[in-house]
């Protein structure tokens, strides 16, 4: 180890926390840096002729392949659609690459593809190109999937961390922690009395509806790996302003909180697959909530906090239920490997 930097890739490098960030900044950007990549957003925004498009890609290695509320196929469609959606675009088309391990049952592959087709149709996107590769037994874990996606930016929509202002409201479209705790409890064979279910869902319908009907939406990001804590920390780092959230206003299902307590996880750090955090102007918050509440994927939407002045170091702070305060750190990254 030189200066504490690991010589080999650790599982935590893929966790969406500090180590992932370090890997990208120290090893990827120096070789590939360019204007479109530099903001490290959920999608790249490109001007092609007169069209303004968003373009993104993501790979899916979730274990187990099938989980309550979804499967790797549904996840592969939703994850990429959501990255396009929170960048302020309407997703149009996806590509699909399958890396299949020798020995995977054809029936399993069929189930995954059926799920991919169904989710894409529901979300109104087409899978327009693809690739299949097979690898020797032991070189993959059943199946890995990569999808890339393209979307058209909604006209007049300008989202960015530089748009934040003190007093802006922070809201989320529903309960947190459902996906991560479903996966980990299913993986470890722990059954909780009530049912945990992944929130895996395509968010573009909801985000487009909000962006088309509400003025004053400053920024959106889906809260996947690293959970709400990671997204909020990215926001304060990028905006140089602080965020204060209220524990009492965080939407968390009791079964999720219970599972997190048993397993020793902080729900704030746990992955979601159907949630986005938005920062909106104070006067826009009420209309956002109203529209969300009328949408299937936003019924539990809540304002959870505000953008606040920053001290020297921009922090995410939590006002606890008992009136105390504490900071919310960027998660390290190893909490839950192979969650998506």
């Amino acid at each position: 180890m030189a200066n504490g930097t690991p010589e080999r890739i650790l599982l935590a490098h893929g966790g969406g926390g500090q180590l992932t960030n370090q890997l990208i900044r120290s090893h990827i950007l120096p070789h590939l840096g360019n204007e479109a990549l530099a903001p490290l957003g959920d999608s790249a925004c490109l001007e092609l002729g007169s069209a303004s498009i968003c373009f993104t890609t993501d790979s899916y290695v979730v274990k187990p392949l099938f989980f309550r509320g979804g499967d790797i196929g549904k996840l592969a469609v939703c994850g990429t659609i959501n990255d396009l959606a929170v960048a302020g675009s309407r997703p149009l088309a996806l590509t699909l690459s399958l890396i299949v391990e020798e020995g995977l049952e054809v029936h399993t592959l069929d189930r995954i593809l059926e799920s991919i087709g169904q989710t894409a149709r529901q979300a109104g996107v087409s899978v327009v190109a693809g690739d299949t590769k097979t690898v020797e037994r032991g070189s993959a874990d059943g199946i890995f999937i990569n999808t890339a996606g393209i979307g058209i930016r909604l006209p007049g929509v300008e989202l960015g961390l530089d748009k934040f202002a003190v007093g802006d409201k922070v809201f989320i479209n529903g309960t947190i922690g459902d996906h991560g705790l479903t996966i980990i409890s299913q993986r470890e064979g722990i059954r909780f009395e009530s049912q945990l279910e992944s929130d895996c869902a395509p968010l573009a319908g909801l985000t487009c509806m909000l962006l088309e009907n509400v003025q004053g939406i400053r920024f959106m990001r889906d809260a996947t790996r690293g959970g709400l804590a990671a997204v909020l920390n990215e926001m304060v780092e990028g905006s140089r302003l602080g965020i204060e959230i209220r524990e009492a206003d965080l939407p968390i299902k009791p079964v999720v909180q219970g599972a997190a307590d048993v397993l020793g996880f902080d729900v704030l750090n746990v992955a979601n697959e159907g949630k986005f955090v938005a920062v909106v102007a104070p006067e826009a918050a009420e209309k956002c909530l109203e529209l969300c509440h009328a949408h299937e994927l936003g019924r539990s939407a809540r304002v959870i906090g505000e953008v606040v002045e920053s001290r020297d170091l921009p922090l995410v702070e939590l006002r606890t239920k008992i009136g105390g305060r504490r900071i919310v750190q960027m998660p390290y990254g190893r909490e839950l490997p192979r969650i998506c």
Partner: protein, 356 residues
Amino acid sequence: MLDRIVNAQHQIDDACKQLDRPVTIMEVCGTHTVAIFRSGIRSILPASVKLLSGPGCPVCVTDQGYIDAVLELTQRDDCLIATYGDMIRVPGRHGSLETLASKADVRVVLSSEDALQLAKDNPGKTVVFIAVGFETTAPATAVAVKEAAGQDVENFCILSGHKLVIPAMRALLSGMNDRIDAFLCPGHVSVIIGFGAFGEIVDEFRRPCVVGGFEPVQIIEALAEICRQLASGQVQLKSIYSAVVTEKGNTAAQTIVAEVFEPVDGYWRGLGKIPASTLALRERYRRFDAFERFGLADQPGQDDSGCRCGEVLCGLIDPPQCVLFARQCTPQHPIGPCMVSSEGTCAAWFKYGRRD
């Protein structure tokens, strides 16, 4: 709930006015440490109430010598190391289980039972279970050892680092830290050993011992009870976690631990060698002892990193008083175990503490 919190706050305020001196309360349970930070309890207490986090995190109290013994095993290709997740990032001299993971087969398990199953599934390897933890995890390890013995799973063994909490409390009060006015006693440990076990601390050292639960309101009420006792001069043993903790504890768990293990003198980080504080396998189960099987030495380790985890564990300093804290030592690059474990004091300060 808020009524109970406000009420407890008033009791604490009143007691502090009567006492008119600083009050120092130590919790000896990593779950309490995390719960206190997570709920922001420190931020709502009067300035005169000082909370110290004692030797309550099982990974943190594990001596460097034990860590080095674990890491020595990673150099063997005939071993499969089964460990709780928190242990894998504790640094030794040449790396941690995480960074050495590609040289040895290291698996994270959630229980001793999982480790035993690994042994059954991998007959070609010797599975070494890194058995750390207090009275809470020792019974499960004992069950696994008994099962291994009953089913002749000879490729299973344990590296016992199990610790007992009361000898550590005695060591602290016997000269290591005379600032401690009272203990917030651990809820989970008390479920096993029973709250009556802390009676010796109350009787011998005249310090209030109050067993509390883990909800913020239960913690504040336990602190209020401690402050009340200190103000009134009535030192007592009390459990306010009565829904879960009994006076005698879980006797079945105590029996199996006593059958499989015996208390021996053991090394603790920061506290040194404490008499009858560590659990070692009894003679009849000795063949499952990884120290013996691999000729590993159970001796105090050398730590020249400048890490002050030992003093943190004894409540002698707060983490920010260590020059490494939040500079060289972060959750990303931990130098000491208290920064590694999710229940470690340094990790809690780093993760939840306000940076004013």
